[in-house]
Every structure is written in structure tokens, then in C-alpha cells.
């Protein structure tokens, strides 16, 4: 059963990338990137799990082996970065919608 999170991770990443490849709506492309990022965050959190370990919170902690909080720190950092990236991409979509009047990725002016 321990492999279940990893299967979910692969499914999420594939889902996100296929949305970025197949969807024409740019907002859906942004959503695809976000879904991929969530999949990778899930991977990092899943890697932090150790059987019999205690969550690395010092307050009220039982006297047992604590897990190393590195994956949690990584996940938090990655969430922050993902937020910044998503906000950036959405603002570009807003700007493009204003100029081109469409959120279709095929309506572009730069090519060749």
C-alpha cells in the first residue's frame, strides 16, 4: 500500500503535462502546470514519511525518533515558488487577453 502515493504522483504529473500539451485554453495550461507542481509536492511529502517516526514538531512531542523535516521544508518552498509562478502566468494571460481578445494558445503573433 505504500506505493499508492507514488502512483498518485505519477498520475498527477502526467495529467498536468498532458493538459499543458493538449489544452488550447491558456488558463487550462496554467492549471496543468499547477497540477504537475502539486504532484511533485505530493512526492516530496510522501518521501518524508518514515514508519514509526514522529512528526518534527517539538511542542508536546513524545520522546521518540523524529523524522527529518527537510521534505516538509522543500514542499513549503516549492509551494511558495509555485504560487509566484502561477500568479505570474495568470497575469500574463490577463495581459494577453486584453491585447488579443482571446485565451486561445493558437491565437499568437510570434512564430517562425
Amino acid at each position: 500500500m505504500i506505493d499508492l502515493p507514488f502512483i498518485a504522483v505519477i498520475v498527477l504529473i502526467m495529467l498536468g503535462i498532458s493538459a499543458a500539451v493538449l489544452k488550447r485554453n491558456m488558463i487550462k495550461i496554467v492549471m496543468g502546470v499547477s497540477i504537475s507542481a502539486s504532484g511533485i509536492n505530493l512526492l516530496l511529502v510522501a518521501l518524508g514519511y518514515r514508519e514509526g517516526g514522529v512528526a518534527p514538531i517539538f511542542t508536546n512531542a513524545p520522546a521518540a525518533q523524529m523524522v527529518l523535516p527537510t521534505p516538509q521544508a522543500l514542499t513549503l518552498t516549492s509551494i511558495v515558488i509555485d504560487l509566484a509562478v502561477t500568479a505570474m502566468m495568470l497575469s500574463f494571460v490577463i495581459l494577453m487577453y486584453k491585447h488579443y481578445g482571446s485565451t486561445d494558445s493558437r491565437k499568437r503573433r510570434l512564430s517562425g
Binding site: V33, L74, I81, V85, H99, L110
Partner: protein, 517 residues
């Protein structure tokens, strides 16, 4: 004081531009002049720190710095590396020097180029953030920090590409750039996760020391190589480059070239230091060589028909990246074969790394020259330009220097590095060398097209009022031009004191691992 600065220089070169960027929203209340002075001062300080650090590192004294430890060199307090560890060897110092120098010159150029009302503080904040991202990317010794700095670099450069947001095209270019670079960065994070799951480590040296090279490691290798090759613009993942470089403001394009070089550094670091001989180096080396050949040829042939001056130059930036991939890829392919490595592998790598610094300089000069044309005439369409040499002779001279250098004409610096690549690659596979030379010829042809259509011909009536560019712009371009000449006339000294130690450091995998463990 000097010793203190030197000891903490690895952390300070990243922290200084970062803090300068943080303080910018407060300084912006003092007006545009204060903002410009602050940005230039911060980048000057970074540059001098990097030079101080680089001189020490190049003399065979790599620095390792553990953030937050009781002493800076305490990397393994419990027998394994913890904390964020910055490791600056000669290769990192080499790249850091390029990044710091170009960022300073770009900032100097921007003082008069960027005229947008109300956006000045944001522009310089983003420029400083980009510098910090690059510095972090080339100095860090940790896979996760690499991801963080890569994203810092992408986000700030994405915002700078869309700096002139009233043009729809720049938002479009920035959007495409952000989508591909965030997916690439996610793949780097996925690789970091794969390594963490197997070895419980994120430090490059520690992972390198424990590498088993099973299936998952191969997957991680592919993810990292594909992501960094995409970030440096290898064909067929290069399409974002022409959009982003073409639509960004001219100094930002010059700086984005260096950002791509930083990704290239990460690619080399992963291939040589993290995996080394243990990886399927022959296959990986051939993969890089094939990518390099495609990049070179398709980049240059796409450049010839372009009508937008900056888009043309961005395809050349793609094409030149191919030379670096070729040179270093050949070295990677013969890494397991000591005889071949000694006879031509090291020279090929030195040629590739020499081309990195040359490319950063001449491509920067060319983009800045294109910026001067756009600044004075207001158009970037080559069909509308003509006869500018009558009015802007200095720009024409600088453009010619850059064009000769990128086409590999003696005695400019591009010739020296290209000659090293041709001759060493010829002994690996003659066909590759022939294609590389053909690419150079096509490069010259396409730059002659630009020079003819923009600068030569009779004076056009619409550009009668055009003047020479303002001083801050030509001073920064002049510095670049002088360095291009110097590097062209004394290539042996550059190879001996800069490129040689860098290539040695890249090959010295044991030394890099031993710095931390």
C-alpha cells in the same frame, strides 16, 4: 577585513544583490536617480566581491561554505552533509565572474536605455533579482537550491521580458517562457525528489559519492539533462528563446544570454560532477553532441530569413549555444577513455568553455547595439532600416566588432574558441567539424545581411534626425568591445588563467566531492 570578506564571499555574492533588490521598494520613494545609483552600486560591489573570490579560487583554493554552521567549513557535523552548502570551485567562479560582469554592464547601459515612467524601480529590482538567481545557480552545491535559484531566475526574467507590457507580443513571449521554464524547473525538482528518496541527501557532492546508477538514477539524469538543455535553448526546445530574447528590452536580452549560460553550467555540473564516468557517458555525450549539431545548424538557418533584428540575433544565440554543447559533449563522450581525453577531449572542453565567455561578451555587445538602433529609430524591422552608419558610426563599429567575433573572424575572440573546437572535434569526428564551420559561414552571411540593411546604403529621409547613442550606452558597449579585442589578441592567457582551471575543476570530480565530504 579582506580576509573576512573573502571567507564569507560565497554567501555574500548571492546575498548582496538579493538584499539590494529587497531594499528597492523603500528606495524608490527617493526618486529614479537614487534607484539607479543604488542598483549600480550594488552590482559594482558584487562584481568586486566576485573578482576577489574568483582570484582566490582560480589559484587552486576552492571555497566551501555551510550557511548557518558554527564555522563556515563545517559541512558534515554528524558525518553527513546538512544545511545549505555553497561550493565555489574554479568552474563556478568562472561563471560567476561572467554573470557579475555582464550584469554590471547591462545595468550601466540601462541607466539611459530604460525610459519608462514609474517602472524604473521595478526594472532594477528585477535586474538585481536575476543577478542573485544566477549567482545562486552557479555557486550552490545543492540540488534543491539549484531549483530555487532557477525559479528565481525564471520568474524575474519572465517579468523583465514582459517589461513593455503595452505590447501584446511581450506578454505572449513571457507567457511562453514561463510555461516552458516552470515545467523544466519542475522536472529538476522531480529529479531532486528522486535522489532524496533514494539517498536521503540533496547535496550534489553527497549524492555523487553514493551514486548507484540504477534505473531511477537514469530517470533523474534524463530529467535534469532535458530540463537544463531546454533552459539553455537546445533545438528542438529552443522556440521560447527566439520569442523571449526577441521581445525583451535589449539590455535584458543581453542578460538573458548569460542566464542561458548559467543553465548550461548546471547541465555540465550535472553531467560531469553528479554523474561523471559512472553514467552512460558515451550515450549522454553523443546526445549532447547531436543536440549541439541540431542547435547549431537549425538555429543559424532560422536566423537568416528573419526580418526583426532582435529575433534574428536570438536565433544566433541559439546557434552559438550549439558550439558549447558540441565542445563539452565531445569531452563527455570520451570521458572514460583516458588517451582520447588527453589528446583532444580536454581541448574540446576548453574550447566550449572559452566559447561561453566569448559568447556572453559578443552576444551582449550585439544585443546592446541592436538596442541602440531601437532606442534611436524606434523600429526593429530590418525592412524599414537603412543608412544608419551615416548618423551612428560608433554603433556601426561596435556592431561590426560583435559580428566579426560571432562569425569567428581572426583576430577576434570568437575565432580562438571556434578554432579550438574545430580542431579537437575534427579528431573525434570530422563531419561534426565541417558542419560547425559551415555554421560559422552562414553566421557571417546573416550578419552581413543585417549590417547591409541597417547601416549601409543611402541615408533614409525618416532617419535624418537620428543621433549617436548617449554616453552610458556607448561606454558599456565600449568596455565589452575592448574586452572582446583583448580576449582575441591574448587567448592563451585567458585559457591559461580562466578557462584552464575551470575545465580542470569540471573534470576533477573527486575534488568536488571531497570539498564537502
Amino acid at each position: 577585513m579582506m580576509a573576512f570578506l573573502l571567507q564569507h564571499a560565497p554567501a555574500l555574492v548571492i546575498a548582496l544583490p538579493l538584499v539590494a533588490a529587497f531594499a528597492m521598494p523603500m528606495l524608490s520613494r527617493l526618486g529614479a536617480r537614487a534607484v539607479k545609483a543604488w542598483a549600480l552600486l550594488a552590482l559594482l560591489a558584487t562584481e568586486s566581491l566576485v573578482l576577489l573570490l574568483g582570484r582566490d579560487v582560480m589559484s587552486g583554493n576552492p571555497h566551501v561554505y555551510a550557511l548557518g554552521a558554527t564555522i563556515p567549513s563545517l559541512t558534515t557535523p554528524a558525518g553527513y552533509p546538512i544545511r545549505i552548502i555553497i561550493e565555489v570551485d574554479a568552474m563556478s567562479a568562472f561563471m560567476a565572474m561572467i554573470c557579475a560582469s555582464i550584469s554590471m554592464l547591462v545595468c550601466m547601459y540601462s541607466l539611459q536605455y530604460v525610459r519608462k515612467k514609474g517602472g524604473q524601480d521595478k526594472y532594477y529590482t528585477l535586474l538585481l533579482l536575476m543577478t542573485a538567481g544566477m549567482m545562486g545557480l552557479v555557486c550552490t552545491g545543492d540540488l534543491f537550491s539549484m531549483f530555487v535559484f532557477l525559479e528565481l531566475l525564471s520568474v524575474s526574467s519572465g517579468a523583465l521580458i514582459a517589461f513593455h507590457a503595452r505590447r501584446g507580443e511581450s506578454s505572449e513571449a513571457a507567457f511562453k517562457f514561463m510555461v516552458v521554464s516552470s515545467i523544466g524547473a519542475l522536472m529538476v525538482l522531480l529529479a531532486a525528489g528522486i535522489f532524496y528518496g533514494q539517498y536521503n541527501m540533496l547535496n550534489l557532492a553527497a549524492i555523487g559519492g553514493m551514486l548507484r546508477f540504477g534505473f531511477l538514477d537514469k530517470v533523474a539524469l534524463v530529467l535534469l539533462v532535458a530540463a537544463f538543455a531546454m533552459k539553455c535553448g537546445a533545438v528542438p526546445m529552443h522556440m521560447w528563446v527566439s520569442d523571449a530574447y526577441g521581445e525583451a528590452p535589449a539590455p535584458v536580452s543581453a542578460f538573458l544570454v548569460v542566464a542561458s549560460q548559467a543553465s548550461l553550467y548546471a547541465l555540465f555540473r550535472v553531467c560531469f560532477t553528479l554523474f561523471g564516468v559512472a553514467a552512460a557517458t558515451e550515450i549522454m555525450g553523443w546526445a549532447l553532441v547531436v543536440l549541439g549539431m541540431l542547435t547549431m545548424f537549425i538555429g543559424v538557418t532560422m536566423a537568416i530569413p528573419q526580418k526583426d533584428i532582435k529575433r534574428l540575433m536570438s536565433y544566433h544565440a541559439v546557434s552559438q549555444t550549439g558550439y558549447m554543447l558540441l565542445g563539452v559533449g565531445v569531452c563527455l563522450a570520451v570521458l572514460g577513455n583516458a588517451a582520447a581525453l588527453g589528446s583532444f577531449g580536454i581541448t574540446a572542453m576548453q574550447g566550449g568553455l572559452f566559447h561561453v565567455v566569448n559568447h556572453a561578451m559578443y552576444k551582449g555587445l550585439l544585443f546592446l547595439a541592436a538596442g541602440a538602433i531601437i532606442y534611436r529609430t524606434g523600429t526593429r524591422d530590418l525592412n524599414k532600416l537603412g543608412g544608419l552608419a551615416h548618423r551612428m558610426p560608433l554603433t556601426a563599429v561596435f556592431f561590426l566588432i560583435g559580428a566579426f567575433s560571432i562569425s569567428g573572424l581572426p583576430p577576434f575572440n570568437g575565432f580562438a574558441s571556434k578554432l579550438m573546437i574545430y580542431e579537437s572535434v575534427f579528431r573525434f569526428n570530422p563531419l561534426l567539424s565541417v558542419i560547425a564551420m559551415l555554421t560559422s559561414i552562414l553566421t557571417l552571411a546573416s550578419f552581413m545581411k543585417v549590417f547591409h540593411s541597417a547601416f549601409l546604403g543611402p541615408e533614409l529621409p525618416e532617419y535624418r534626425g537620428v543621433r549617436e547613442m548617449p554616453p552610458a550606452m556607448w561606454i558599456s558597449m565600449g568596455i565589452l568591445a575592448v574586452f572582446i579585442m583583448l580576449f582575441g589578441i591574448f587567448p592563451d592567457l585567458v585559457v591559461q588563467y580562466l578557462v584552464g582551471p575551470a575545465s580542470q575543476a569540471l573534470l576533477d570530480r573527486i575534488g568536488y566531492l571531497g570539498g564537502v565530504l
